[in-house]
């Protein structure tokens, strides 16, 4: 630590260069952090919204295939099933827009509380959701996006069924990452019958909660056996596996993002290494003098390395701070514009902050390694010879 003031003085020697290097590293670290929020955001979403006791049951052939509604009753009788709820895609969009901007489904309000005990739903709101025929339960992300409050009324026109539904928002799912909207399936069923249609005889899919995580596999097998050789054979899987494969189609994009992240990291190393080598070259005479008066090569090596690492770590921390600021701005911008919506989903998680900080430390040390070692190892006589 006694060398700290020397290290600091050395960093202050060429202020412009230090500032430029720090600026470059800061921007690059911010970039890496932003890019990492994409895969990290997906992981966080999986972790915060899935439960190890919930099972997704859907038609084996695909999500656009359905199953008979009557099957839900059979599933509820399976041993170990605590609760089950059907969920049917409504594909509702605003009349003036015509595009589905958030997922919305017809569900069974009486089973919501049982299937999602981990959602921390407000009991009063849940009771309202069960009471109102036209009630809607909306995820907080969508509530915020449109500035909705409990009690607001909205109209959604289905892109799948030939009906429009007037809904009253009575409950919120208190999770910032939830963008879903639920309303009672009864309501859709009656609306279809009013149109002269046979009503909603199907369930798009089903969510089942097991009473014991250890029985999940057995329950999944039993449910799939129940539907075997029927018109609609089912495939059951855990909630986590369902959402992972749902995001699976983004894998290609994530790969590219990770490659670019790697490239930007390399960039930081180059920039930091360049600065370190310039510093060492300019100071070679001085370093030789230090060695001549008795500083060991390890002390010199350590000092140069610390200098590089300190510079890049401080810059890295600034970069992390910049990321936090940038994502906040992006969220603001994205909340105002539909087309930019996905940009609002950059959420900086704790692991990203830690990764960014350690990345800059690691990169600084790596970049300082070669020049510092070169300077420390050079024989004193040779260096002094070069200088004088």
């Amino acid at each position: 630590m006694k060398y700290f003031s020397l290290i600091r003085a050395n960093l202050g020697r060429n202020k412009l260069r230090t500032a430029l290097t720090a600026g470059a590293i800061m921007l690059a670290v911010a970039l890496v952090c932003m890019l990492l929020t994409m895969p990290a955001g997906m992981d966080a979403m999986l972790a915060s919204m899935t439960s190890n006791t919930r099972i997704s049951v859907h038609n084996k052939a695909g999500l656009v295939y359905s199953m008979p509604y009557a099957f839900t009753r059979k599933v509820r009788q399976v041993d170990g099933v605590a609760a089950a709820m059907s969920m049917t895609w409504f594909g509702g969009a605003f009349e003036e827009d015509g595009r589905v901007t958030f997922p919305n489904f017809a569900v069974e309000p009486e089973h919501v509380g049982e299937v999602y005990p981990d959602y921390k739903l407000d009991p009063q709101q849940l009771a309202d959701f069960q009471r109102y025929r036209d009630g809607a339960m909306v995820g907080r992300q969508t509530m915020k996006k449109y500035g909705w409050k409990i009690g607001d009324r909205i109209t959604l026109r289905s892109t799948v069924w030939p009906v429009s539904l007037d809904l009253r928002i009575v409950a919120e799912i208190p999770n910032d990452r939830s963008g879903i909207l639920w309303f009672p399936r009864e309501y859709l069923d009656q609306a279809l019958q009013a149109e002269g249609r046979p009503g909603l005889g199907i369930a798009g899919m089903m969510w089942v909660r097991a009473d014991d995580p250890n029985r999940v596999n057995a329950i999944m097998r039993t449910i799939d056996d129940l539907s075997r050789n029927s018109e609609a054979e089912t495939a059951s899987e855990t909630e986590k596996s369902f959402f992972s494969s749902f995001f699976g189609s983004l894998q290609g994009l994530v790969t590219i993002v990770l490659i670019v992240t790697g490239l930007v990291t390399l960039c930081i190393i180059f920039i930091a290494a360049n600065t370190a080598s310039m510093a060492v070259r300019e100071r070679s005479g001085e370093l030789a003098v230090l060695k001549a008066i008795g500083f060991t090569r390890w002390v010199i090596f350590g000092m140069l390395l610390t200098e590089a690492a300190l510079l890049s770590t401080v810059a890295g921390l600034l970069g992390v701070g910049l990321t936090l600021g940038l994502t906040a701005v992006l969220r603001l911008v994205a909340s105002g514009s539909e087309a930019l919506g996905p940009l609002g989903s950059f959420i900086v998680t704790a692991p990203v902050i830690v990764q960014g900080t350690f990345l800059s430390l690691f990169v600084g040390m790596l970049a300082g390694l070669v020049p510092s070692w070169g300077a420390a190892r050079k024989p004193v006589v040779q260096t002094l010879h070069e200088v004088f």
Partner: protein, 392 residues
């Protein structure tokens, strides 16, 4: 009097390691930006190039895509004989009734994706002018045969010529491969429309109709007539408009790439400035001499600016080569890149870094070089010759 160009260029080679390092930083920024730009332009090209400007898409009112639309046989029979629809040699209207379903397909790696399966009649090949059978043959009507798009080919279990593809409730024999010049049809599987309706147990036989308007006919008038028909609640729109609406999903990606380019560009600019400042410092005596023998401030400024930009262009060159290689490598290693669209279908795109992506990256590199070089060049130009010589 200006300094010769070779003076600037030779200075770059004077400090090889440092120049290479700076050029390397710019090269990496170029690679990152061209890869992302290539990805977006490939995605847009896939979506925007889909659709024929002469074609109309007819769907149920309120549907936003093929997959959620439903259409009755009566609606098709009526629309088919509307005026303004092109006819083939046998005087049959070029109206293709289609059913779209998105079943699970299982990738060779064990993942699953929603693939767009289009039920068609033989007329489809005439209506979709850019789609052709590249290998094998078109499927026979009323048979469990399938033709698969080039992007689908080899990506999923059973998706090869001659083998059996399993999706929905049945098995389908692959008899041909579709090609459409890179548009989204290459991410589809085509089967017989009635077979598909049976398999998917759809209450309505079709999801939409694709129409070819006759030469000289008024497309807008035909669309209006379809929209206004009181018997069926239908909506017609140009096929190109339908696909470009789907391409809007790429807009958010554009903002992302611009953000990356700006952040990385500024960072690389800082790096370049560092190198150039060091170069100016090391050459103080030289600059003093040049000034003393009569070179003007402007020519010194210009010469350093040229050096910085040349460095950036070298970086661009390295980066461009690297980006093209990487794009090729990604293509070889992970094949097509799948994009899940909002419409529950997967578009498989091939990553291509196009000349226009590289041109954008070149502009970025030049801007980096120019901005990064300006400060140091300014400092060099403002040096007073006497002091500079004295320092030496």
């Amino acid at each position: 009097m200006t300094l010769p160009l070779s003076y600037s260029l030779r200075n770059i080679t004077a400090r090889k390691a440092r120049s290479l390092m700076t050029a390397g930083v710019i090269a990496l920024v170029v690679v990152a930006c061209s890869l992302f730009l290539g990805l977006i332009s490939s995605l847009r090209k896939t979506l925007v190039s889909s659709g024929d400007p002469r074609n109309l898409v007819v769907m149920r009112k309120g549907s936003d895509n093929d997959g959620s639309s439903q259409l009755s046989l009566e609606a098709f029979q009526a629309v088919k004989y509307f005026d303004g629809i092109a006819r083939d040699a046998q005087d049959q209207p070029l109206a293709s009734p289609e059913l779209v379903v998105q079943p699970f397909f299982h990738t060779l790696q064990g993942g699953r994706e929603n693939v767009l399966v289009r039920g068609v009649e033989p007329v489809a090949l005439q209506v979709h002018g850019d789609v052709r059978i590249a290998e094998g043959r078109m499927l026979n009507p009323s048979s469990a045969e399938a033709v698969v798009g080039k992007g689908v080919m080899g990506r999923y279990r059973g998706a090869t010529l001659g083998s059996e593809l399993e999706f929905g409730h049945g098995r389908w024999k692959v008899v041909g491969i579709l090609e459409s010049g890179g548009s989204s049809f290459e991410s589809e599987v085509w089967v017989d429309v009635r077979e598909l309706a049976n398999d998917a147990k759809r209450p309505f036989p079709y999801s939409g109709i694709r129409l070819r308007t006759a030469n000289g006919a008024d497309m807008a008038a035909l669309a209006r007539r379809i929209n206004d028909d009181p018997r069926f609640a239908l909506e017609a729109q140009p096929e190109t408009a339908y696909y470009s609406k789907q391409a809007e999903s790429a807009n958010a990606l554009y903002v992302l790439v611009i953000g990356i380019a700006v952040l990385a560009g500024i960072g690389a600019g800082f790096g370049a400035a560092n190198t150039m400042y060091a170069a100016v410092q090391a050459r103080t005596a030289e600059i003093g001499t040049l000034r003393a023998i009569g070179f003007s401030r402007g020519s010194i400024l210009w010469s350093f600016q040229v050096e910085a930009v040349a460095l950036a262009v070298v970086g661009f060159g390295l980066g461009a080569v690297l980006a093209l290689l990487l794009a090729r490598l990604i293509g070889l290693l992970i094949g097509g890149i799948a994009f899940g669209a909002r419409t529950f279908t997967t578009n498989v795109i091939t990553l291509h870094v196009t000349p226009s992506d590289l041109a954008t990256a070149l502009v970025l590199a030049i801007v980096i070089g120019f901005a990064g070089g300006f400060g140091p060049a300014w400092r060099a130009a403002r040096m007073r010759p006497i002091e500079a010589l004295r320092k030496a």
